[in-house]
């Protein structure tokens, strides 16, 4: 369980460019949850993520991962980073080793695991992201395709077996097919490892389809916290923040607004199609 209580973070405190990135944010994420975070660019999402694994410390407030208060002074950072794995945007830009296997092993090695354990985890992580360890392990990460690089980078974090896996826009800049594959892979990892997964995305359809819990951040404040149905049901408020419901839901909402007798508003295309068929009376 992750419990965030009243965290506030101010950048460049006391300087002319001072800005409040997070303002009194509180929420709870239950074990096994797949949580989505949505918000504008610059809303404070990335700042929030970096707090969750101790890369940034809040100016006030506390964050509990399990029973540990990770905001406490002198907390064991390595232990926090073992528990909470963070995959940054465009993670393929962090690859640096000679081979894929060595790069994936970087995290586990830093945890001080035995060589045997490191090797086992490298193979496990590569399989989890859908790459054959035999085939890819010895290759240079720089000769892979964009999608494969992304997978290797995600494997580098997965290999630390985090209890919480955070992904910041893991599909940014990928083609539609790779986009789908990478999301499918993330879903697989979530199901196999039964961990908390946190996904930041600008794609509302992805969030609606994958998440059971959605947080909305706007201008450093947590403005919504609920199930996808609850959050995307407040489409007007989302529009005001420059966000929106998934296209399928948005489409039905507009049909309904113009007088078509739509009952419930599903979030996915298949559900929307069913609803329209029902209205058409077929």
């Amino acid at each position: 369980m992750i419990k965030v209580s009243n965290i506030t973070h101010v950048y460049s405190k006391g300087l002319p460019d001072e800005s409040v990135a997070l303002d009194d944010v509180s929420f709870t994420i239950e074990d096994g949850s797949f949580t989505g975070i949505i918000g504008h660019t610059g809303s404070g999402k990335s700042t929030l993520l970096q707090h969750l694994n101790g890369l940034l410390k809040p100016d006030s407030g506390h964050i509990f991962v399990g029973d540990t208060d990770i905001t406490e002074k002198g907390s064991n950072l390595l232990e926090i980073r073992r528990k909470v794995g963070l995959v940054f945007q465009y993670p393929e830009y962090q690859l640096f080793e000679e081979t894929v296997a060595m790069d994936v092993a970087f995290g586990p090695k830093n945890l001080g695991l035995s060589d045997e354990e490191v090797r086992a985890r490298t193979v496990e992580a590569l399989e989890l992201v859908g790459l054959d360890a035999e085939e890819f392990g010895g290759k240079s990460p720089f000769e892979l395709s964009g999608g494969q690089k992304r997978r290797v980078a995600i494997a580098g974090v997965v290999a630390m077996r985090p209890e919480v896996l955070i992904l910041d826009e893991p599909t940014a800049g990928l083609d539609p097919k790779t986009h789908k594959d990478v999301l499918g892979m993330i879903n697989d990892i979530h199901e196999k490892q039964h961990n908390i997964t946190i996904l930041v995305s600008h794609n509302m359809s992805d969030v609606a389809a994958m998440c059971d819990h959605v947080l909305v951040i706007n201008k450093g404040k947590l403005v919504m916290d609920g199930t996808p149905e609850e959050v995307f049901g407040r489409a007007d408020e989302l529009n005001e923040m420059g966000l929106s419901a998934p296209p399928a839901a948005e489409f039905l909402r507009r049909l309904k607004a113009s007088g078509v007798p739509i009952g419930r508003i599903p979030l996915d295309v298949a559900g929307a199609a069913d609803e329209i068929i029902k209205v058409l009376g077929r």
Partner: protein, 264 residues
């Protein structure tokens, strides 16, 4: 954190110093550095310090902001001071084991340290009050007479513009890569010197690759906008000397004269 480095940074403002022509400020900075080394007695250094304080006050840049930027360099100054303190022979005034401090060494070390501090403050004031573009435009104008003897003035200025432009980008990139590797349990703060140097590899390799990528993208974007060097190129903001600059030059002349007459 790495973002705290303010050396070479610009501090937004509209003070008298900010409004000076970049050329005036560049010349003033060079002159100030020369005068610092002409000054040989305590009076000379005191006047130099006063002049700098006056200019800092006029620039309205908070002292804390300047200090934050030059902090890393103080280690070098302290090092130079200590080295000089024990290296110059003369009349001994204190003995620490095998090391002797002499009257001459104390004087030389303090003067050198004082000069370095003033030099760094003066130079950082130039970048703090001048936008990078203004700075490179100024340099281009100042060295353009040398074009006749084959100095590629525009190209040099463009290289400097790009280099300056990429300092924040690369700092940001470094910050991002560092955080990403820290998230994978990398440790940059503890261990022996050799170990720490080794720990930099996970930062340096991605940073190198990023720089090449950024450079390539930039070259492409410049070509796409028909960049073809300095021939026949005009400026969006042409620089103009004003009365303010005249006042600036008068101040410099007075300052230099005082030092040359009394400060040696």
């Amino acid at each position: 954190m790495i973002r705290d480095i303010t050396l070479g940074q610009y501090y937004q403002g509209t003070s008298l110093i900010h409004r000076l022509d970049p050329r005036t400020k560049i010349i003033a900075t060079i002159l100030y550095i020369i005068v610092l080394f002409i000054a040989q007695n305590a009076f000379g250094l005191a006047i130099s310090t006063l002049a700098l304080i006056a200019v800092i006050a006029l620039s309205k840049v908070p002292l804390g902001f300047i200090l934050r930027g030059v902090k890393p360099i103080f280690i070098i100054i302290v090092f130079t001071f200590v080295l000089n303190l024990f290296m110059i022979p003369g009349e001994a005034i204190a003995v620490l084991g095998p090391l002797t401090i002499t009257r001459e060494s104390l004087r030389t070390a303090s003067f050198l340290a004082g000069r370095l501090v003033l030099l760094i403050f003066g130079a950082s004031l130039l970048t703090l009050t001048t936008k990078p573009i203004g700075l490179t435009d100024g340099i281009e104008k100042l060295i353009s007479p040398l074009r006749r003897i084959g100095v590629p003035a525009h190209e040099i200025a463009m290289m400097m513009t790009i280099a300056l432009r990429f300092i924040p980008t690369l700092l940001e990139e470094t910050d991002k890569i560092m955080k990403a590797q820290q998230a994978r349990g990398a440790d940059f703060e503890t261990g022996s010197l050799v170990k720490r140097a080794k720990n930099l590899i996970p930062i340096l390799v991605p940073l190198f690759i990023s720089s090449f990528r950024i450079a390539q993208d930039l070259a492409m974007a410049m070509e796409a906008r028909c960049y073809r060097g300095g021939e026949g190129r005009t400026r969006m903001n042409s620089m103009q000397m004003t009365r303010l600059d005249l006042a600036g030059f008068a101040f410099q002349a007075a300052f230099a004269a005082i030092i040359i007459i009394f400060g040696r």
